[in-house]
């Protein structure tokens, strides 16, 4: 019987030869992740269960990134809970502010997540790691606590939808646009409980940064996980980072998919998701006149060095429109340093953008750029729900970094083409 990559990874971690969709399996986890929002609840449950030690101090990762550097006193208390727990347990992968980053950019960058892994994270965007050919999914704090104690998790093996992307990408189109277009097609619950496997010639040549953006937003289609079969590009990314062995799993040619959807990417232009759901997408040429107050470039979706290079390319020699705030947030300290080395900060500062330390901050309306009543923002983040970036009557439009940068210059949502690029 043929299996998909998701089924193969789950079978291997359950100690089984084969698994089939619908089957309940208990699997070993390679990594358990929590952040400053979800870990406090998980640690409460950990204590309540009477647990004394985590199952493996090298396999529990704690990242204060949502409201860190501490946004207020209660956030400071939450971050302290992580710090004290990490010290008490001797957690190897706790990231203090000076070495941290947004978790889903940080963990792959640090080589902590590798192809073939099973990862559970108390954060819905844990599905990002599927880009490496790992099975990774978001769970709640209690499930994370149970995994921290036991090193195990149970799953219903998901059915898989295969997405095939054919053709050549248009200029200024990237992974973010492909995933927004896909969510527009299947809607926000179109992949509920299912694995989303991204494939096809456009994926085979797609850089890792774009692959991360795609898998990151699988949850926005309701997916349990997003995944891409690892290849030469994956190998290139992990080989210098991995400090342990890893395994490439493939999908069999006889694997069963509950559905296959095909797209001709040469017809996809940069996408903009209108409030208040990621499925409300339009091509950037169909947006109309939408003035903006703020643009945010960053997040676990689009805060990698490649994203910042694109933004810099668009911003070079240009200025942010009057009365518009452009906030750029490198996703990790490494990305920050690299951007500085490459001179991207000069470009951003000349353009009158601000550059923030890594944080999830504005993406979830925390801090570092929340919106006032009635304000509109374009953001490279992943959710545009009501009040997501601030006031309930503010609006968030989602796009790729090129469109966000161009919009900051134009003062309204628009494409780099309008700047002659």
């Amino acid at each position: 019987m043929g299996m998909t990559i998701t089924e193969r990874i789950l079978a291997a971690h359950a100690g089984l030869k084969t698994v089939a969709p619908g089957e309940l399996v208990e699997v070993k986890v390679d990594l358990v992740l929590a952040n400053d929002i979800t870990a406090p609840l998980a640690l409460k449950e950990f204590r309540k269960a009477g647990a004394k030690k985590v199952f493996d101090r090298d396999k529990v990762v704690l990242v204060p990134d949502h409201f860190a550097p501490n946004k207020d006193v209660p956030s400071a208390e939450q971050c302290r809970m992580l710090r004290e727990f990490a010290q008490e347990q001797g957690i190897s992968h706790y990231f203090e502010v000076g070495e941290m980053g947004i978790e889903h950019a940080l963990l792959p960058e640090q080589g902590l997540v590798l192809p073939g892994d099973v990862v559970v994270g108390a954060d819905s965007h844990t599905c990002t790691y599927g880009a490496l050919g790992a099975f990774a999914t978001g769970v709640g704090s209690t499930d994370a606590a149970a995994a921290m104690i036991s090193g195990m998790a149970w799953f219903k093996v998901p059915k898989t939808i295969k997405f095939v992307y054919r053709g050549k990408l248009q200029p200024w189109v990237g992974g973010k646009d492909l995933i927004l277009y896909t969510i527009k097609d299947i809607k926000v619950d179109g992949a509920s409980y299912k694995a989303m496997e991204f494939s096809g010639e456009a994926i085979e040549t797609l850089p890792m940064a774009d692959r991360f953006s795609m898998c990151n937003m699988a949850i926005e289609g309701g997916g349990k996980n997003g995944i891409i079969v690892p290849d030469r590009i994956t190998e290139e990314y992990v080989k210098g980072r991995a400090k342990r062995s890893y395994q490439f799993y493939m999908s069999d040619s006889a694997a069963h998919y509950c559905e296959t959807r095909e797209y001709d990417v040469s017809r996809i232009e940069p996408q903009v998701a209108f409030p208040f759901l990621p499925e409300n997408c339009k091509g950037v040429s169909e947006v109309g006149n939408i003035p903006i107050d703020q643009a945010v470039i960053g997040s676990c979706t689009n805060g990698r060095i490649e994203d910042l290079r694109i933004a810099a390319h668009v911003l070079k020699g240009r200025k942010v429109a009057p009365y518009v705030r452009l906030i750029i947030i490198p996703a990790t300290q490494e990305v920050y340093r690299q951007a500085m080395r490459e001179g991207l900060f000069e470009v951003f500062l000349d353009a009158k953008a601000v550059i923030s330390t890594p944080t999830c901050g504005p993406c979830l309306g925390g801090y570092m750029g929340v919106l006032a009543k009635g304000e509109k923002a374009i953001a490279t983040t992943n959710r545009n729900f009501v009040g997501r970036m601030g006031h309930k009557e503010s609006e968030v439009y989602l796009s790729n970094p090129a469109v966000a940068a161009a919009s900051a210059v134009l003062g309204r949502i628009g494409s780099p083409k309008e700047l002659g690029l």
Partner: protein, 166 residues
Amino acid sequence: MNFQGRVFRFGDDINTDLIIPAPYLNTSDPEELAKHCMEGIDQDFSTKVKRGDVIVAGKNFGCGSSREHAPVAIKATGVSCVIAKSFARIFYRNAFNTGLPIVEAPEAVDGVKDGDEVEVDISGGKVKNLTRGTVFTIKPVPPFMQELLESGGLINYMMKKARNRR
């Protein structure tokens, strides 16, 4: 398990940012979270809701973030049960894990309006609309899951089991 209360009716795709907006996630105190429950869609929800009341919603309830604060906040307001056409995957698991009863029942959702009085019989598999005199059949929650809910969630349930083994 039996609940009776007034219905608060919501639509499709009620996400976790509506259930408990992220700015309030700097605490995990249930009472504090309850004060802001559903604030993203109904500013006064926490003051209107009474112990036992029932949230009824459309498809994909609880979509978005993995924050367990969402079912924790709902439960702490005194809401006895959430009935929806469908639930997002992470929320579904979080609800049971934190001891918030939830029921997937599309027909029952279509058969109730905001303000109706309903009785939910989780063991017997029935939703009765007391205001309109209609009854809907639901898939009963299996006994072990009822016990999990009655214990107040997964960790309490596991500990109870461990105690009983001794």
